[in-house]
């Protein structure tokens, strides 16, 4: 029972601006822009962006798997390849035993997709969207009407079921998108940034729905840039940045892999090599990274370390300007691997 997912050496290079449906794409200066400035004749080749760089991944059947990363990390592109919407430049993607790009139609039968931006059919009412979706998947008239009624009830859309969706709020569109993706009872459900823009209440409803669907043995893959979402919802996750997987595992496992666990982000009026060396010697400190006028200290304790940091600063004639203590979290993990916050 259940369908797993496998990605082998996946690579995607865009030679034109990526399509709108990859949604979360952003053009960071580190990866975007002209690649070959010298060759002016070669105008067509000017735009080249590596969105995904040799990603390999295995998602087990029945797992609730998260792809965590900032905007433009390559999450949506990875989902796009797995859902037949973006052709990979190299590598292979499998849904169960089906090669997504060799057996597209069979793969499409197994998957349901909730896009980052609702792409509902504006020419139809909410109920018609569900019923026609069922029809595309070959459901009988009775079956699709029954299923649409159930989903409308469950997703609290009964009041507006027979209205055109153009006037729906963002939250309603999102709920309808999820209902539509579940209409044909897919074995694998992809949700691309499902809670972006949702109010806290709708977000909790969404989490309940996702957990419930997962408890029926379905595999779920979601992308998110919310740490808490990845942490509370996912069995396992992969952290993606700049098109590469920088860490993967269960949230607890990943958090325990952070050296020391706690992160103290300290700002001084100036940082000297001597100060960095002194900080490194403090009890419980596993790693110190100096950056500009600050230092990131990874340690097995948080606030308890502050008096010692103050003393070290005084000894080096530096003044402490700002202190920020982070408990073990995926955010800290991301910072540790990339030197950047997820929200940067």
């Amino acid at each position: 029972m259940g369908i797993g997912i496998r990605i082998e050496q996946l690579r995607k290079v865009y030679d034109s601006p990526p399509p709108a449906f990859s949604g979360g794409f952003s053009f960071g200066p580190s990866r975007g822009g002209p690649k070959d400035k010298k060759n002016k004749k070669d105008k067509k080749k000017k735009f080249e962006v590596v969105a995904v760089e040799n990603i390999s991944l295995e998602i087990r059947a029945g797992e609730l798997f998260g792809l965590l990363g900032p905007n433009g990390a390559g999450k949506s592109t990875t989902i796009g390849v797995l859902t037949t919407r973006i052709r990979p430049t190299a590598g292979r993607a499998f849904i169960g035993d089906l090669d997504v790009w060799q057996q597209q139609v069979a793969a499409k039968r197994l998957i349901g997709v909730v896009p980052q931006r609702p792409n509902l059919d504006f020419a139809l009412t909410a109920r018609e969207i569900l019923v026609f979706h069922g029809a595309y998947f070959g459901q009988s008239a009775r079956e699709r009407t029954k299923r649409a009624d159930e989903l409308i009830e469950r997703f609290k859309l009964s009041d507006r079921a027979d209205h055109m969706v153009r006037g729906f709020s963002g939250g309603m569109m999102q709920r309808l998108s999820i209902a539509r993706a579940m209409m044909h009872d897919p074995e694998v459900l992809f949700l691309d940034e499902p809670s972006a823009g949702l109010d806290p209440q709708t977000r909790l409803l969404l989490w309940d729905i996702v957990r419930d669907y997962n408890s029926q043995g379905k595999t779920i893959v979601l992308t998110t840039h919310y740490m808490d979402e990845a942490d509370t919802l996912c069995n396992r996750l992969a952290i993606i940045d700049h098109g590469k997987i920088i860490a993967s595992g269960a949230p607890a496992e990943l958090k325990s892999s952070i050296p020391g666990g706690y992160l103290l982000r300290i700002k001084f009026d100036r940082v000297t090599d001597g100060l960095t060396a002194d900080l490194q010697k403090l009890p419980g400190v596993t790693e110190v990274r100096a950056s500009g006028d600050g230092a990131d200290i990874y340690a097995d304790r948080g606030g308890l370390l502050i008096p010692a940091v103050v003393s070290a600063a005084q000894a080096a004639s530096a003044t402490l300007c700002d202190v920020h203590i982070q408990e073990p979290s995926l955010e800290t993990l991301f910072l540790h691997h990339t030197g950047r916050s997820l929200r940067d």
């Binding site: 037949t84 499409k108 997709v113 504006f122 020419a123 026609f132 979706h133």
Partner: protein, 256 residues
Amino acid sequence: MNWKTFYALLSRDGHVARRNLIPTLLQNLLQPLLLTFVFGRVLTAGGMMQAGYKNVLLPGIIGISMVMSGVWAVAMPLITEFQFTKEIEDRLLAPIEIGWLAVEKVVAGMIQALVAGLVVIPSAWLAMGSGVNISLDRPFEFAGMCLLVALFAGAGGLALGCSIGQTQVGLMFSLVLAPMIMFGCTYYPWSFLKSFPGLQYVVLINPLVYANEGLRGALAPQVPHISMAIVMAALAAIDLALLAIGLKRFHGKAIG
């Protein structure tokens, strides 16, 4: 090929078309019918035009009505659905090869073009009043022409809809469709261009010339027209070329 899905996609387009039936009919057919009334009735009744002009005009009006209805029915939704909202995504994820979705769009456009033809024939006939000398003695030629014109509308709509963006729709009308209609032998037979020898041959790249001349040949053979064999062969070739271009562009648009 998954017929159930294909039929469901077609039903969806049919459902949307039925919902918008009246505005669509008004948008596509009101102008040709008004033209028919002015040129085919007012000007002929007043003696500015000969009565025989009615037979020249009616097939042309049928031609442009079919083509415009079919092109709009396919191109406009495609332009919108491939835009930012990506409304077409749900159908691209339906369990069918995506090329068939493009074919379905063409079939839906053909049906709308044929319906437009069915509506415009009696309406235009009525608008012109007496003196129309149209014959349905060549039912197979007429049916063949109708299918080829409808396919031209559907495939043309696909190619156009996948080639331009929403901001270029107005420009498309002024730069592509308006000259096509004016130089498409809609209001005059092709042989009338003999006083403009260069133009007479340049307009042969315009598919509407074959559509209108063919319908004229099938409905009013007494009016001079290009030979039916040439018209049908040329239109069939154009249809296939447009279909191939449309499918290629559709794939390009649909997959990132």
